[in-house]
Assembly symmetry: C2
Homo-oligomer: 404 residues x 2
């Protein structure tokens, strides 16, 4: 018997039949004597439908009104989930983000949770009810509806687990947990029993789609241990927690690939102090997230700058740099069939030779490396998109990730 | 320039195209310099869809959760309407019932408005914004979402108009106003320029579908004058207001027909004090609304009781009376092809001969009268459903309602 927070994603509550299945799962946990707080997302597809309707009435909907609109997706699933539980004899009560006391800042569509006043929720919990909370949404001080951005329901679950000091936080999704690589690409990828917050963060920002970085950052900050697992079976998932000494024995925890990248080369730019700053200030001003930056040593007073951006932002990046090139000279070229391949593991902090193994594996597979960047626990290479899947398989094997 | 509350019903905001049309209307009123508070319903059909989904997960959804679910219908239209206004350059902001400070009691699915705290709304109004408020919904003291029952959006508009002391309250719907009879049945029915609250109430409870009684009662209680008019054209509608002396010159304001009725006859019941009480207590216990009661004089110690009920409640009524008949003897017969025809007018208070004119007109048309009931400003007869439309035309003509 324990106090458990469970989060069910959009595919898990995708239609009334699936909502009834989720209710059966909740009842089983309830029958074991657990106290339960359930966070649900909108039915998969609903958010996109609502956005389409918004864009049909207004080319650029205001973020405040978008939040007011999008919040109804989760409001529907909380009510239906509570009803489905009533239908099988479980006492349950639904809470919107506002009712659950999830107070955020005013940053509509990407609000940050400030405080949680869980008093009402705790009273209902003490009265023996199962609590169903709308993920992804909150309320600001002025009483306006806010939403937490992509992956917001995970964040709701983790923040609530912290606020009510839950014994467990389980993130139910449509995959079995966190794998050593994408199992659709690398057939012998292995589900991890556990992973550190930092590794999970590096994987999230390297193309793994299991969870958004924000939720993991929040969990790390408030030390909320959580488990990623599937709502379609009863297999144990992957525990995400603070790094422990034993984790360092594993040099590489996993391989992630992000195929949705492009490379931009700014060549023959005037090589003087402040040139690079001007380039990246212009990109930041256009809200473009730049990754993997390389600057070549200057010759003849000019230098080359190379960086990667998400493939769909190449045009925006080129446009943003136009005035800078007018001033500093140089020209722009871009290539959009680029992938990033990353290996991640806290063991890298204490083991050497990871880069050598990675580069040798890629060389053996005749994969050309375009750019390289590293963090303390990650090495990333930019390669051609066409060979990315095969590269992932080769690297996965080179680090023995198929073996426990 | 005035402070106006306008309410647009479900068909007026039925899809994104209609929402954009409503936004154009609002902009036109805005451009005339008016301050506007707009109340919108859910898109027509949405509420029924949501109820179907609720019933798919649970045979008897709880009323609290139904309210949580149904409130999203209006939450969608407020956001879309605000966005559509932004799209054509009008500063607008949406308010849920809770955000508009509409506090109700705890009677989920049929909550009553207790108080309105319109401070936030007034601030935005003073700042020059058009306010879009979700009809049909409120919040109780515990912070739970409540809904106001059928016709609830009209109630929201009228209550808000009272709370902010609006100069006008306009109820936009899919008909041009209140008619002397249903224009689909009586071709020369005439739109009324004005009608008293009491007449409107009698018409509402006599089968007119223009508005629910509750909203009219609320308007009468708080003396809110309102206009019923069409959102599909610019014709003036019908003003509903407190009775003035000139109204009494018109003996009959209108004719209403309710075809959805049945007659129940309880015959040979033991004729002793308390028998009728037992019969109607049993019906009340089953939540059946009984109308038009006639008791025949008793013979041989037994009596007959006749009354009308909505046609779909005959079976429930018969079942509820079973135990009473076990005790008091007697038997039940029912007939479900019954219509009620009513003539309504405040002039009846000071004019005689209305009943005679009505009965003569029906006799001339060979319509048999089954039951008769009256109030101070209404006479109702129960007749066979088959002849009801023709009876309405005959009566409409007999009182000269086609002439201004």
């Amino acid at each position: 018997m324990a106090l458990i927070v469970q989060k069910y994603g959009g595919t898990s509550v995708g239609d009334v039949e699936r909502i009834k299945k989720v209710a059966e799962r909740i009842k089983a946990y309830r029958d074991e004597g657990n106290q339960l707080v359930i966070v649900v997302s909108a039915r998969s597809g609903v958010t996109n439908e609502l956005i389409a309707r918004a864009e049909a009435v207004c080319a650029h909907p205001s973020e405040r009104e978008l939040d007011q609109l999008l919040a109804i997706g989760e409001q529907e699933t909380i009510a239906l989930t509570a009803m489905a539980l009533h239908g099988i004899g479980v006492d349950a009560v639904s809470y919107t983000g506002a009712q659950a006391g999830i107070f955020t800042d005013n940053a509509h569509t990407k609000a940050r949770i400030q405080t949680i006043n869980a008093d009402a929720l705790k009273r209902d919990l003490a009265a023996g009810k199962v609590i169903i909370v709308a993920g992804f949404q909150g309320i600001n001080e002025a009483g306006q509806t806010t939403t937490l951005g992509r992956g917001g329901s995970d964040l709701t679950a983790i923040a609530l687990a912290g606020a009510i000091d839950a014994a467990k936080c389980e993130i139910y999704t449509d995959v079995d947990g966190v794998y050593t690589a994408d199992p659709r690409v690398v057939k012998n990828a292995r589900k991890l029993d556990e992973i550190s917050y930092d590794e999970m963060l590096e994987l999230a920002s390297s193309g793994s789609k299991v969870m958004q970085s924000r939720s993991v950052e929040f969990a790390k900050k408030y030390d909320v241990v959580f488990e990623v697992r599937s709502s379609f079976n009863h297999n144990p998932g992957t525990i995400v927690k603070e790094e422990v000494a034993s984790m360092e024995k594993v040099v590489v925890r996993g391989v992630a690939v992000d195929k949705n990248q492009a490379k931009v080369v700014v060549s023959n730019i005037l090589d003087k102090p402040g040139s690079a700053a001007k380039v990246f200030k212009a990109l930041a001003g256009a809200n473009i997230v730049v990754d993997m930056i390389v600057q070549n040593v200057g010759h003849n007073g000019v230098a080359n700058l190379t960086f990667t951006v998400p493939a769909n932002e190449v045009h925006k990046a080129t446009k943003a740099l136009d005035p800078v090139l007018q001033e500093l000279g140089g020209k722009i070229a871009s290539e959009d069939q680029i992938a990033k391949l990353s290996v991640v593991g806290v063991g890298m902090k204490t083991h050497s030779g990871v880069a050598a193994t990675l580069f040798q594996a890629l060389a053996d597979a005749k994969v050309n490396i375009d750019l390289i960047s590293t963090s303390e626990i990650r090495i990333t290479v930019a390669i051609a998109q066409a060979g990315a899947d095969e590269a992932a398989r080769v690297v996965h094997a080179a680090f023995g990730l198929d073996k426990a």
